[in-house]
């Protein structure tokens, strides 16, 4: 199948900084592709180039197999729309925000009305037309910016860290929207993220970036078992553990991940495995609690990462675990760096990669 977008040997320099270093990538029509990689890998630059906002220093971009020459990035801009990591809304009503691109395209008032209404329905912000966009919460603003992009029915929707720093409810709405536009509008979607869990939820395929190039790409499952990725120090890959699994008589498995730490998982598997646990699936308690959860481990908080409504805790148990709790529980529990806590999670929260 002919790829929708093909990038060949793309180089992008900002003065001394080499943001993209001979990058090659193909994007297939109708897929959801995750662009994974640590911060600074060049994900945002890649998206801006596909979006036609930046032009590459050198290299070739093919759209439907025909080359896009320098100075013709406006051709691509009409077809690809990007949603930025830092949410920006125009200082006006939600309606005017979402209608902006349609007005630029000189659509009729009736059509704009209809499409803005539909876009708001998709992002679950019905009735928000007359609200001032600047006065909405961060999550609502992010949904407005996604509605503003998808109302244009672009061929490619580019999302830069669409759910970073958002609360779990908004995250799930946004993931739902991504699946919806891909399925119903047949939009090709690219998601740049450092959050591997999000990718697992929505993406068909992933491309892994490091130092300005794509080092691996393919179905997510295959990708995570590639030795090149295991060797690389992806500190952003949270709660991913490699170990040896042994089945138990109970139908579960016990996985030895080293440092005498064991994880019980709700699958039967023998031999080397890679597993991950969603940070939001881990319960944090100050005392060992009796529960149905099969895994409990004691640790010490070594880092507190503030994401607004949610807080991420890095916990040293011998291995580093990441747990995610709400700001309210964080306050109520009076946690600090060095606090001793217990991490509790179910065997069924352990997923096999």
């Amino acid at each position: 199948m002919m790829p929708l977008i093909r990038l060949k040997e793309i180089v992008k320099r900002y003065g001394e900084i080499l943001a993209l270093n001979r990058l090659n990538l193909e994007v297939n029509r109708g897929e959801i592709l995750a662009v994974l990689g640590p911060n600074g890998a060049g994900k945002t630059t890649l998206l801006k180039i596909i979006a036609g906002i930046e032009e590459p220093t050198s290299g070739e971009i093919y759209y439907n197999d025909s080359i896009i020459n320098k100075g013709f990035s406006s051709f691509i801009r009409q077809r690809c729309t990007m949603v930025f990591q830092r949410t920006i809304v125009f200082n006006t009503t939600v309606y005017n925000n979402i209608a902006y691109g349609l007005k630029i395209r000189r659509r009729s008032k009736a059509e704009i009305d209809k499409r803005v209404h539909e876009a708001l329905r998709i992002v679950k912000l019905e009735g928000y037309e007359k609200r001032n966009a600047k006065k909405l919460s961060g999550g609502e603003q992010q949904r407005v910016s996604i509605a503003r992009a998808l109302v244009l029915e672009p061929e490619i929707l580019l999302l830069d860290e669409p759910t970073a720093n958002l609360d779990p409810r908004t995250t799930s709405i946004i993931e739902e929207v991504i699946r919806y536009v891909n399925r119903e509008l047949e939009t090709t979607v690219l998601i740049a993220t450092h959050n591997i869990f999000q990718v697992g939820n929505v993406a068909d395929r992933a491309a892994f970036m490091l130092n300005g190039r794509v080092i691996e790409s393919g179905p997510l499952k295959d990708l995570l078992n590639k030795p090149s990725l295991k060797i690389a120090d992806f500190t952003r890959l949270e709660n991913v553990f490699h170990g040896i699994a042994k089945p138990l008589s109970t139908g579960t498995s016990i996985i030895d991940i080293g440092d005498s730490i064991y994880i019980e998982a709700a699958f039967e598997k023998t031999g080397p495995v890679t597993v991950f646990i969603q940070p939001e699936d881990i319960i944090v308690s100050k005392k060992p609690i009796e529960s149905s959860a099969r895994n409990i481990i004691k640790g010490r908080i070594i880092e507190i990462i503030d994401h607004g409504p949610i807080i991420r805790l890095k916990v040293d148990t011998g291995k580093i675990f990441t747990a995610q709790i709400t700001r309210q529980s964080f306050k109520d529990m009076n946690l600090n760096i060095g606090s001793e806590i217990y991490l509790v999670y179910k065997a069924s929260s352990v997923s096999l990669l």
């Binding site: 801006k48 036609g52 906002i53 729309t81 125009f90 902006y100 630029i104 503003r148 992009a149 244009l152």
Partner: protein, 260 residues
């Protein structure tokens, strides 16, 4: 015993001196306080009754500083937009110069312009000294750096992000620039108001270039200074109240508009 008595007498004397001094100070203070209260009463009367000298100074201040502000808008807004939006060599230096001139002392500027405009100065031929036009030009120069800097900052705050956003939504370069300008507009209006407030509240330029001529170049600040030295507090207080009202009301309205 005798020594003790002497000591206590000395203490008493000292105490009575202290008491007397403090009574004098108290008297002075209460005199001043009553004068302020009287002044306030008279001042409010002057404002309500529409005293000609109050109206004259007020309208001239608004006319002179308003003209200066309008004039400055013509070059400062485009220049500020250029500095905030375009990347050109030496941009940082230009911005640095305008930032440095933000705190320009008004007497210094007044003196320089006085020397230029006086009969024997290089611009003496214009015969402008001691006219309202001289004050307008002086205040225009004074507030140019404010308007340029604030406008540049307003544009810089929104420029790269809003530009990229407009472009990805399909805007052309010029449409994207317009979007940036629209987003910065509330802050630019604030820059204009801040400039006007600086102009109407300054004294040095108006005094040195206007000469405080009654009915011709007398503005709020120069009249306040003059009437205070004359001991004519009622008029000074009345004019100060008006000056504060103008400045506060403008800032308040702009802030309300900005929030909307």
């Amino acid at each position: 015993m005798g020594q003790n008595v002497q000591l206590s007498i000395a203490e008493n004397t000292q105490n009575s001196i202290k008491t007397r001094t403090s009574i004098i100070i108290e008297n002075g203070r209460s005199h001043m306080v009553s004068e302020i209260i009287e002044g306030l009463k008279h001042a409010i009367n002057l404002i309500i009754s529409g005293d000609p000298s109050v109206l004259d100074a007020t309208f001239r201040s608004i006319y002179v500083s308003g003209s200066a502000t309008l004039l400055v808008t013509v070059w400062s807004i485009p220049l500020g937009i250029l500095i905030g939006y375009k990347k050109f060599p030496g941009r940082r230096i230009v911005k640095g110069i305008f930032n440095a001139m933000l705190g320009m002392p008004t007497v210094g500027l007044g003196l320089i312009l006085y020397l230029m405009l006086s009969r024997s100065g290089p611009l003496g031929i214009l015969r402008m000294l001691y006219t309202p036009y001289a004050i307008i030009i002086g205040q225009a120069i004074l507030i140019t750096p404010i308007m340029v800097s604030f406008t540049a900052n307003a544009i810089e705050d929104v420029a790269p992000e809003v530009k990229d956003l407009a472009k990805t939504l399909g805007a052309s370069e010029s449409q994207a620039s317009l979007a940036v300008f629209k987003e910065a507009l509330p802050s630019i209006i604030l820059a204009i108001v801040a400039s006007f407030n600086r102009a109407i509240a300054e004294l040095g330029v108006a005094l040195m270039l206007g000469g405080n001529i009654s009915g011709l170049t007398r503005v709020l600040t120069t009249t306040i200074a003059l009437e205070t030295t004359r001991g004519n507090f009622e008029l000074a207080i009345a004019l100060t109240i008006i000056l504060l009202l103008i400045v506060f009301a403008l800032s308040f309205v702009t802030n309300m508009l900005k929030r909307e």
